[in-house]
Symmetry: C2
Subunit: 322 residues, 2 copies
């Protein structure tokens, strides 16, 4: 590792892996004199990263919270945790927080060494799908690649399997990634069809970022999520559940969070759309609402699942054998 710059980075990294470091120890690790260490610390401070020092016996250096964020030095396990955590988080929250998560995810994925990708993938398949039935099993690397291209306004090529099984090759301008009903979609402008299209990420394959930059266009209706929702394929939409909940909006929000769309509400009644890609998820939603519910629209499969849950729960509750 080369001279001063490398050492400065290394110092920053050391200060992040342990809270306290006595000066001598640091100097030893960096293989410089203590005087030089003090100068390195000074350099970090000049760079805006506050290194707090304590004098006297058991004194030492410590990286504090400052005005700006120092570069995070993460190790391999932590990088994998980041990939998995950010992917899951982006899927469960919506809006700007999801965007920030994706932005962070793309940074990690961009620099993730290949062997770590394999490890992450292995872990992902070993880890149980989030307990809502089928979670959006999108490959973290693919998600990262798409997020990266979206961030950098870079054209994208990929293979797509449509709902009817037809396989096509696409060339698009990726505009935004959104989640609807626990599934990932990419809203993009299709360069061959000259129109907006939304693509399910779990149906994309062989994603290839061409390096061609593009100029962003305004999204129709100025609301990517709404646009994607309006374009859901019949099959995707079929598990949608429309219901009247006899409770206040506040209660509904607290119980089900962002994973359902409030269509309209008045005091004591909320009309709610649950986009369920899994009937179990719909059943959970209805149960967890903790209020009386009238179903306005639902697929037979969902109704059937509701009945099965109901029977199972009542049987279980009827026979406590303790």
């Amino acid at each position: 590792m080369s001279g001063t710059s490398g050492r400065t980075l290394q110092l920053l990294s050391l200060l992040q892996t342990h809270r306290f470091w006595p000066g001598g120890e640091l100097a030893g690790r960096l293989e410089v004199s203590e005087r030089t260490l003090r100068r390195d610390v000074e350099r970090l401070r000049d760079l805006g990263y506050p290194v707090d020092a304590t004098r006297g016996t058991h004194g030492g250096y410590q990286l504090g919270a400052g005005a700006s964020l120092p570069p995070l030095t993460v190790d391999e396990d932590e990088a994998i945790a980041l990939v998995m955590a950010l992917g899951a988080h982006a899927a469960t929250v919506g809006g700007p927080l999801a965007d920030a998560s994706l932005a962070a995810l793309s940074k990690v994925v961009q620099v993730l060494p290949h062997r770590l990708r394999r490890r992450a993938e292995a872990l992902r398949s070993a880890t149980v799908a989030a307990p809502f039935g089928a979670a959006p099993q999108v490959d973290a690397e693919l998600l990262g690649a798409v997020a990266l291209a979206t961030r950098d306004a870079e054209r994208l090529r990929f293979a797509y399997r449509a709902a009817d099984g037809a396989a096509t090759r696409r060339h698009v301008e990726p505009h935004q990634i959104v989640t609807v009903g626990r599934r990932w979609y990419l809203l993009a402008h299709d360069l061959e069809r000259h129109d907006w299209r939304s693509f399910r990420l779990d149906r994309m394959e062989a994603v290839e970022a061409t390096r061609a930059p593009f100029r962003r266009r305004p999204v129709p209706g100025d609301d990517a999520a709404a646009f994607v929702r309006s374009r859901l394929s019949r099959r995707d939409r079929s598990l949608q559940l429309l219901l009247d909940v006899h409770a206040d909006l506040e209660h509904v929000r607290r119980r089900i969070g962002p994973w359902a769309t409030v269509v309209e509400s008045e005091p004591g009644r909320v009309r709610l759309a649950i986009e369920a890609n899994d009937p179990h998820w719909a059943a959970f939603g209805v149960g967890n609402l903790d209020a009386d519910v009238t179903i306005l629209e639902a697929d037979d499969e969902v109704l059937e699942t509701l009945r099965r849950w109901s029977e199972r729960l009542s049987r279980a509750a009827a026979r406590p054998q303790d």
Copy 2:
């Protein structure tokens, strides 16, 4: 910002915020000649971070995936996303992945500027609790502080409200953070009681890291999670649910994941303990198992909730009004 080192860091950061940078642009931003930029790039490469370059028209530099992980430069929104994603992730997965998440979380929290902490806190309270009823609403900063002290083997002082309401001041050696039934616990050696104790993180307050380091002791039984589980207070334990599932282990694992403990299993039957801090969570578990279930042990509150869910679901399923 000082000379070379700062510029190198800045270059690394620029390379992470956009995928492609033409050399001239980078040189301009860093206010150096293109020759010096080339040398900076070389420096980064010497440091082990692979900067790929493309020649010719529309050429430029690009940070690639290499052998080691470069320091991540995240912006404020991303830092907040990290805090929230890692906290949530650590709570939902168990084992080594959770540990890695906590390690990463502590790194972020350590350097998070104060104003960002406030923003994170605000977002946290605005964000709906995860839809399992009461999520473990542990302050992210507190979690980070405890994780930091645990990582660095640093003694901890805090105020604790016990289950019976008694408020005490504790001084402990924090050994491990574990989750049981969607709650956070700290397994620690109490320095005043001279024995192991487990503390619920949501009952801790005013956490203060003394700088006193301690030497780790072997955890009794060598399994922190098991130890904490065995010491759960009566109140915490009361919502435990013990059941026989008539399905294969594989099926159960796939349906409920790490959020339940398999007590024993034989082909076609699994005995399962669900640690539920919320009866709704238990109801969800039973329903989502998608198999016949016999309850062996359960609190009345849980049984009552199961019944309520059952009724609600069957009423809802019976009256589809489409």
